[in-house]
Symmetry: C2
Subunit: 322 residues, 2 copies
């Protein structure tokens, strides 16, 4: 199977969206937003051995490869529309690729995201997704809009994906009954697409928690030129992680919770006046939206432990060049 | 240097274009075309050992990484506007990365292309560029518009990049005086940006010759449901390649010319009535635009040799999964 057969067989799709003028199969795709709309663009590269294991399930990997990009769009408040997929594979593996695209396509179909272009080549297994979302002009939720007094929220629960990774690396043990749920958080994250769109006009700032809460929250603090205080006990997490944090594995549990990465939840800020709207959103979307602290005028990130005492040292965020 | 320092130091740029609402530094970039304009999107992945050698000059590589994408935009008739750059590097190499970005930035500045987003990670050296161009709605030049009777043109000269690669692989020798020019074609291709834009309303179809003339031309024939006859003697090439084609290295010379790849010239079709406009463009832009054959109603690609006889077998185009 050559490159063009690969494209024809696995990537070519009938155009679905009216604003795709030209889709897959030319030198470029042609799109235009409706009047008054803007595009949001984001790119992520996933490398075997770094972002996924060599033996990773291809279908889950196809899902995750798209999910991490939709998560970035959600963090901007954008509705996902199009995606370009570039991939390097060591050899043409029809079964593997078919399974990968099944996972990719299922998530794309769920959100009506159209694959409009791509590139395939031979090389160490690597995927690069460019996702394009849409929103009304001027409504993008940036990292720079947080103000002192704003409440800090996170969606869902943090730390489970990192805990699954720690279990896989035999650094910790958990009740085997709890493992499938943890593993699902690592392998098949659900991007908070509906939440991101709903946060337009509600959140003052937002980002997705992909590299760990404290490291990511610092990006909001830097961009907004503010500080924050958060309460460790308020950060939503699984019972498994909460139990670990009370025992001898506390350092590992805190690292998962505060600096674990791969959560793909949204962290956002909103004025106290927005509290009711945030609670209504949580209810309407069936997504826990938990207040974990507040934005402060003084720079820096302070974390209070379960007893209200400031934590002296914080685990480090995941850093791709560390 | 961590990932964020890398981004701050090498990738962050002041916004240059008015239609970039949000550039590098958030979860996504925000852009919107002017009224009546459309965006063209294209993505290319370059892998070490496949698209460039392990010891490749980083500055030239930075140039080429962007150039191959601008070439795709040119083939659609789009003016390049923005670019997203994702890259995997085995280790953080400040000097290497600085040189790479110098080459990348120099070409970007030449065409006023703005870097609006990206991703960096550790991994086997791989780059993935998503380029976004702009054109008036409905003016994109596709592969599907060629009609019987149209003349087939190519810009510049073909085969020199492939010849440089053959020389480097010691499969052939050429006059050492000629080598630097050949090598430049391989290492530092110049995308035909101005030509692509000027071909709007002139060309009936177009693509860029990146995988070899015959293979790429077949994409036009397939998309347009037509055939073509081209004249070997008419295909523009260097004196070095022309001389080789007359000697015992003729098979290699023809493979370079017809199926060599890495040319990044434009191949386009136009009605005979457009001939004067094409010639005027060649003059205005100082780019040779050479007629090499004609589109036919019968499907298939026929090549006539120097004596007007049909060539029985054709060299194969470069295929990334071959």
């Amino acid at each position: 199977m050559n490159e063009f057969e690969v494209i024809e067989r696995y990537f070519r799709r009938p155009p679905r969206n009216g604003d795709v003028r030209i889709g897959i199969g030319d030198d470029g795709a042609v799109v235009a937003p409706a009047a008054g709309m803007e595009y949001v663009l984001t790119v992520d590269m996933l490398v075997e051995g770094r972002h996924f294991a060599a033996g990773a399930d291809p279908r889950q990997l196809g899902h995750k490869t798209l999910a991490v990009n939709l998560s970035d769009l959600a963090a901007m408040g954008a509705l996902p529309r199009f995606v370009l997929l570039a991939g390097a594979l060591p050899v043409a593996e029809p079964d593997w690729l078919q399974a990968f695209m099944r996972g990719f396509d299922a998530l794309a179909a769920q959100y009506d995201v159209e694959l409009i272009g791509g590139d395939t080549t031979r090389g160490p297994r690597t995927f690069c997704v460019t996702a394009i979302g849409e929103l009304p002009a001027g409504t993008a939720i940036t990292r720079g809009g947080a103000n002192p007094g704003d409440t800090i929220f996170v969606s869902g629960r943090l730390g489970d994906a990192a805990l699954a990774l720690a279990v896989a690396g035999r650094r910790v043990e958990v009740d085997p009954m709890l493992l499938p749920a943890l593993q699902r958080r690592l392998d098949a994250p659900e991007p908070r697409v509906a939440l991101g769109v709903a946060l337009r006009g509600v959140a003052s700032s937002a980002l997705d928690v992909s590299d760990g809460l404290t490291g990511d929250l610092r990006h909001i603090l830097d961009a907004s030129r503010v500080g924050a205080t958060i309460d460790l006990a308020a950060i939503p997490c699984s019972d498994a992680l909460r139990a670990l944090a009370r025992g001898p594995q506390r350092p590992l549990a805190l690292a998962c919770l505060l600096a674990g990465g791969d959560d793909y939840e949204l962290c956002f800020t909103a004025t106290p006046a927005m509290r009711e709207r945030v609670d209504a959103l949580a209810h309407a979307l069936s997504v826990p939206l938990t207040p974990i602290g507040a934005i402060t005028a003084e720079p820096g990130l302070a974390i209070r432990d379960e007893h209200g005492a400031p934590m002296a040292s914080l685990p480090h965020a995941f850093d791709h060049f560390a």
